[in-house]
């Protein structure tokens, strides 16, 4: 076998690809991201808000994109595709074609002047055709990379862009380029394609302007979209009074061939209805659906809010046809409700389109030599949800089946762990580490400030008189040098800044240009390379917040720019160097819980070379999986369980403690110390990270005679009975949502629909003549599980809908078990006498969660599951660094989803464990112990528990900042009554000086 290579190729730069790339690059591997379009970010960049938190999509995504764009070990290859893959796991050779961009990425600064001058108008794909763009363009405003691209099909070759480009970046003669990459593993994250709704001609999409697809509607809702976030009709720009959402367009539909469920549309449909009303109050939204599949964490609570607070109307009906009303261009929707055909007019119709595999899935599969499933999504299985049919190639995100963002992110981190385990021996070998000169000691020196003012081509210089600002800067106190640059961010200016620091012995550096949010890291790096502490740099924004927003007032803009420079100089004079605290890392993990999830996480970490301690409460490994006898998809859970247990027990790096319990945890990321009770003794373990994998438990019903009548069982008990070949009932009734989706527990337990279908199919297999009735609220067989739902219906399993107003009733009269329920189609009350009544009991939080959450100082949801750092983009992280969660401790989920999360938690953990020492952010709080009165206000306010009280003298306790936990928000400093707490880089003195300098000059003038 050839030598292994410490690099990974990620195909696709959407949220999944970027997450996988970041996790690998942060764990010491080199990563290449090959993205088909000109910029990374994928579909998420087009979304307005995200469910269930209504977070703005771009706000939470952009930092990840910038992070990936700037990462020393992530190489973005955009506007490119892979052509050939040779070799084997550990050593692949990949040929990539980078298509001509016609703009030099080294030179383009992304200023956008070319696009403003370009005379061509083309359809903007990013705005889904609802807007226009020029022939030279970036995909979206905050694009990474921000290099422009020329659409040569639309370009008329007039030469304007080349003429106006001050950076000399336009290259009409650019050609396609072939790149050879050598990598150890490959991760596929090419995403999905939206179903094209014009294929369902009965809905009139494409013919009637006021019918839009859900992704077009996202753009309509977006503040950066065609109507600046106001809900308007494309036909006349008027606000529609009524909006209809039609679900399952191109999903669950045999006529389209897409019989699977697209999993995310119910929730995005509800979200779009809610946001529409937030953006344009007064619009009335109606959602036409078959089943509302709000199966994820806190989704049902969101669904309920949409109904109750936002008055979104939900109508259970498949829509056969939509027609336009001539004149008004309203749309006529026909539907069936309460058994009657009805007709209703809407101003706008949104089609919730499903997810299709990427259009080049087949070609990709051929190049890679991997198998696809019958729908052309990547083929995977329950116990290897991230593995493809070829060793060394992994998959994540929607290409592995339709899914939402958090699931994609979890899979992405999981795939990163799998890829890393192949090349763990090569960690660090291809990663770049920069050599830096020692830091100069500037303490005691008088401030010597250098100011660099950027023209940004004509972006600033076209409005603000930059030379005047420079001359003004020279008059300010302690400024010893000032100059202007065409582009301060260009590579040659970085060199110049370093030279000027040397020449003028500068000890504070200011750049007046664009936004620190994108450029501060670059300039900090530059001053650090010149031997200055990076925190001696400051920046002020005279472009985004000045020249661009005062285009018609050049004089006032110039005055404002001067004010801004003056105020930032005042702050910079007070800047102090900050140390980035480092903490050593103990390269071992503690995993709490020894079910399939804990075991998977342990194996992943061990394969990457880390010691692992697994603490299991029971006397046996396996958890919940031990109670399963067969699976919906057909795999054998028992066989897999014993295989996994064997692997864990035989692995030297894994230490298993059975019948044990964690009783105390102290320390912080990299340095935890825990006590466990094991064999009646207390044992101490030191470790760098913690993974919570404590699972969940089955609800013991108090409803429907459970416990009173032996013929009433839970799904688990039925499974046990069937597996022991004791099942012989003639008539079985199953009731869904027992203990779930109720007032006390509003959320869905996610797995019970699949369980019921699994058991119903098993009954039909072992005893086909048995009648099975499933009484449900919504059948939530999302994704490819939909196929089993259909199969069950074909085999004669009867699915009957019930709602909260008419719940089924169970009685025991004269030893006869009777179930009464309302049949909504024939509108009659029906009574049957089953031999067995099976309850699909909820999955509820592990009762130990509360105690554990207090010990680990991590939060729980209202319902009692563990609450992650961010529901969308950090699904397996806690807000506390170094602590992770996975599996059912997070929320109810299927085995494949739990396994993906287990892998994800281990990948996230590896980003810490792979480092000898962690460098923390330098902007942290510190306490002047002499001023501290020990009042503990800061301790109680800190959202990260980063402040503890320590004894200064026998009588006095003072606040102490645990730097490793502090995130630098400054809430403590603001609240401190004695001003003993200060925030590095945002000290009270610095901010006050900045404010004063802004204002006082004017008073003098």
């Amino acid at each position: 076998m050839k030598d292994k290579v410490g690099a990974v190729l990620v195909v696709g730069g959407g949220i999944a690809g970027i997450q996988a790339a970041l996790d690998l690059a942060d764990s010491g591997f080199r990563v290449y991201v090959v993205e088909d379009t000109p910029s990374i970010g994928g579909t998420m960049t087009q979304l307005d808000k995200t469910f269930p938190t209504n977070d703005c999509a771009m706000c939470i995504l952009a930092p990840k994109l910038v992070g990936a764009g700037r990462h020393a070990n992530i190489h973005l290859i955009t506007n490119a595709e892979i052509r050939k893959v040779e070799g084997e796991a550990g050593n692949f050779k990949v040929t990539v074609t980078r298509r001509a961009r016609y703009v030099d990425s080294e030179k383009c600064t992304g200023c956008g002047v070319c696009a403003q001058e370009c005379p061509v108008e083309a359809i903007d794909e990013y705005d889904e055709g609802l807007n226009r763009r020029s022939a030279i363009f970036v995909k979206y405003l905050q694009a990474v990379p921000s290099t422009f691209i020329i659409d040569r099909e639309k370009c008329i070759g007039c030469g304007t862009c080349q003429e106006v480009c001050r950076a000399d970046a336009v290259r009409y003669e650019d050609k396609d380029e072939h790149v050879e990459l050598n990598v150890g593993a490959i991760i596929l994250a090419p995403g999905f394609e939206e179903y094209n709704p014009s294929l369902k001609s009965e809905y009139g999409y494409g013919r009637y302007p006021n019918i839009v697809s859900s992704i077009e509607f996202e753009r309509i809702l977006s503040a950066t979209g065609p109507y600046s976030g106001v809900v308007l009709r494309p036909s006349d720009g008027k606000i529609p009074k009524k909006i209809a959402f039609i679900q399952c367009v191109g999903s669950r539909d045999e006529t389209t061939g897409n019989t699977y469920c697209s999993s995310a549309c119910c929730m995005y449909g509800i979200k779009e209805a809610v946001i529409a009303q937030e953006h344009t109050p007064g619009v009335e939204c109606t959602i036409f659906f078959m089943d509302i599949r709000a199966y994820g964490k806190e989704f049902d609570a969101y669904y309920n809010r949409a109904k109750e607070e936002y008055k979104v109307r939900f109508v259970r009906s498949r829509i056969p046809k939509v027609e336009e009303v001539p004149g008004s261009r309203n749309l006529l929707v026909r539907y069936v409700a309460e058994g009657e055909l009805k007709e209703e007019e809407f101003g706008l119709v949104v089609l919730s389109v499903g997810m299709r595999p990427p259009k080049y899935a087949k070609e990709l599969a051929e190049i890679l030599g991997i198998k696809l499933n019958k729908y052309n999504f990547c083929s995977t299985n329950t116990f290897s949800p991230l593995g493809t049919s070829r060793h060394g190639i992994y998959v994540c995100g929607a290409f592995a089946g339709p899914k939402d963002i958090p699931e994609s992110v979890a899979q992405a981190s999981g795939a990163a762990a799998e890829a890393a385990s192949i090349i763990a021996s090569e960690r660090g070998k291809l990663a770049t580490v920069k050599k830096l000169p020692p830091e100069k000691d500037v303490s005691g020196e008088k401030p010597r400030v250098g100011v660099f003012v950027c023209h940004c081509g004509i972006n600033i210089g076209g409005t603000v008189n930059v030379p005047e600002v420079v001359e003004y800067a020279k008059t300010l106190p302690d400024v010893v040098y000032a100059e202007h640059n065409l582009y301060t961010c260009s590579e040659d200016t970085q060199k110049r800044i370093r030279e000027k620091i040397e020449e003028f012995n500068l000890n504070r550096v200011i750049v007046a240009s664009c936004t620190p949010r994108t450029h501060e890291p670059l300039f900090r790096e530059t001053v650090r390379e010149a031997g200055l502490n990076p925190y001696l740099f400051e920046m002020t924004n005279i472009r985004d917040q000045c020249s661009w927003v005062h285009i018609r007032e050049p004089k006032k803009a110039t005055e404002k720019a001067k004010d801004l420079v003056r105020s930032i100089v005042a702050k910079a004079r007070l800047l102090r160097p900050l140390k980035k605290p480092t903490v050593n890392v103990i390269p071992a993990g503690l995993i709490i819980g020894g079910g399939i999830v804990g075991m998977t996480a342990a194996l992943e970490l061990a394969r990457q070379g880390f010691e692992v301690h697994v603490v299991e409460k029971e006397k046996e490994l396996g958890g919940h999986l031990r109670t399963l006898h067969y699976l919906l998809e057909g795999e054998d859970p028992k066989e897999q369980l014993s295989k996994t247990v064997k692997q864990v027990m035989e692995n030297d790096k894994i230490h298993v403690y059975l019948g044990a319990q964690v009783v105390d945890v102290s320390g912080f990321v990299g340095n935890f110390k825990s006590k466990i009770m094991f064999n009646g003794e207390e044992k101490e373990i030191e470790h760098g990270i913690i993974i919570v994998a404590t699972g969940a438990v089955e609800y013991k019903p108090t409803e429907y005679l459970y416990g009173l009548d032996l013929r009433v069982l839970t799904q688990h008990e039925l499974e046990e009975k069937i597996s022991k070949e004791e099942f012989k009932a003639e008539k079985v009734v199953m009731i869904q949502c027992v203990g779930a989706r109720t007032k006390e527990r509003p959320n869905c337990s996610r797995i019970c629909c699949g369980q019921a279908i699994k058991n119903a199919l098993k009954i039909k297999e072992v005893r086909p003549e048995t009648d099975v009735y499933i009484l449900y609220k919504d059948v939530r067989s999302y994704g490819f599980k939909e196929d089993y739902y259909r199969k069950a219906a074909e085999k004669g399993v009867l699915f009957i809908n019930y709602d909260d107003e008419r719940k089924p009733q169970a009685t025991n009269e004269n030893a006869k078990l009777k179930i009464k329920f309302w049949e909504p189609v024939i509108k009659t009350e029906v009574e049957i006498e089953p031999n067995l009544l099976i309850l699909s009991a909820a999955t509820i939080p592990n009762p130990d969660n509360k105690q554990l959450s207090e010990m680990l100082k991590v939060p729980l949801t209202k319902g009692g599951f563990f609450l992650e750092a961010h529901m969308k983009l950090r699904p397996v992280d806690f807000a506390t660094d170094g602590v992770f969660l996975c599996g059912m401790a997070h929320s109810p989920k299927y085995i494949d989803e739990s396994i993906a999360q287990a892998c994800a938690a281990s990948a996230r953990a590896a980003t810490i464990l792979s480092k000898k020492a962690l460098e923390m952010e330098g902007i942290v709080a510190n306490v002047d112990e002499d001023l501290c009165s020990g009042c503990r206000i800061c301790e109680s306010l800190c959202p990260y528990s980063a402040i503890e009280m320590k004894e200064q003298t026998e009588e006095k306790r003072v606040a102490h900042v645990i730097e490793a936990l502090c995130k630098g928000c400054g809430v403590c400093g603001t609240a401190c009554p004695t001003k003993a707490v200060t925030m590095g880089h945002f000290t009270t003195d610095e901010i006050m000086a900045q404010v004063k300098a802004t204002l006082v000059e004017e008073i003098k003038a």
């Binding site: 703005c56 405003l141 503040a223 000045c546 005062h550 005055e559 900045q994 404010v995 204002l999």
Partner: protein, 144 residues
């Protein structure tokens, strides 16, 4: 500034790095035009804004102070800094009123990174409003 010229209020804006500052950037990227009366001071979190910063700004002659952070309840990068800002500004406004300073001079807004338009509108609105209220009474005091 001579008294006869139209009164141009000077506004200090404390914007949190993650949402409001990003929203102000987006207003720029989208070339939304608003009056040049605001000077922005970037802080990491709206929860860092000490009421004394606002009082000092008013004392130094600011005609208005804008504090802008991430939307309630859950957008805050630091979990709950926005709630802390909310409580502090509410209290501060009561104090200002007792000092005879119009509480409208201090404004708290939630602006997300995608709400460039909202940022521009807030600034426009605030400039109009403060023009109506007139110059900060403390400014004259200092000049005298």
């Amino acid at each position: 500034m001579s008294e006869k010229e139209e009164f141009e209020p000077k506004i200090i804006g404390f914007l949190c790095n993650w949402c409001a500052y990003a929203g102000a950037d987006l207003a720029g990227v989208s070339r939304m035009q608003y009056p040049p009366n605001i000077r922005i001071v970037r802080v990491m979190c709206s929860g860092r804004v000490d009421p004394s910063f606002i009082l000092e700004a008013l004392k130094d002659g600011a005609d208005g102070v804008l504090v802008a952070g991430c939307h309630l309840p859950s957008d805050c990068h630091y979990i709950s800094g926005n709630f802390k800002a909310l409580r502090r500004i509410k209290l501060l406004k009561k104090v200002l009123e007792q000092f005879g300073i119009e509480p409208e001079r201090v404004r708290l807004e939630w602006i997300s990174a995608s709400e460039g338009d909202k940022f521009a509108t807030v600034v426009k609105d605030m400039v109009d409003q403060i023009k109506k209220i007139g110059p900060n009474p403390l400014k004259g005091g200092i000049e005298a």
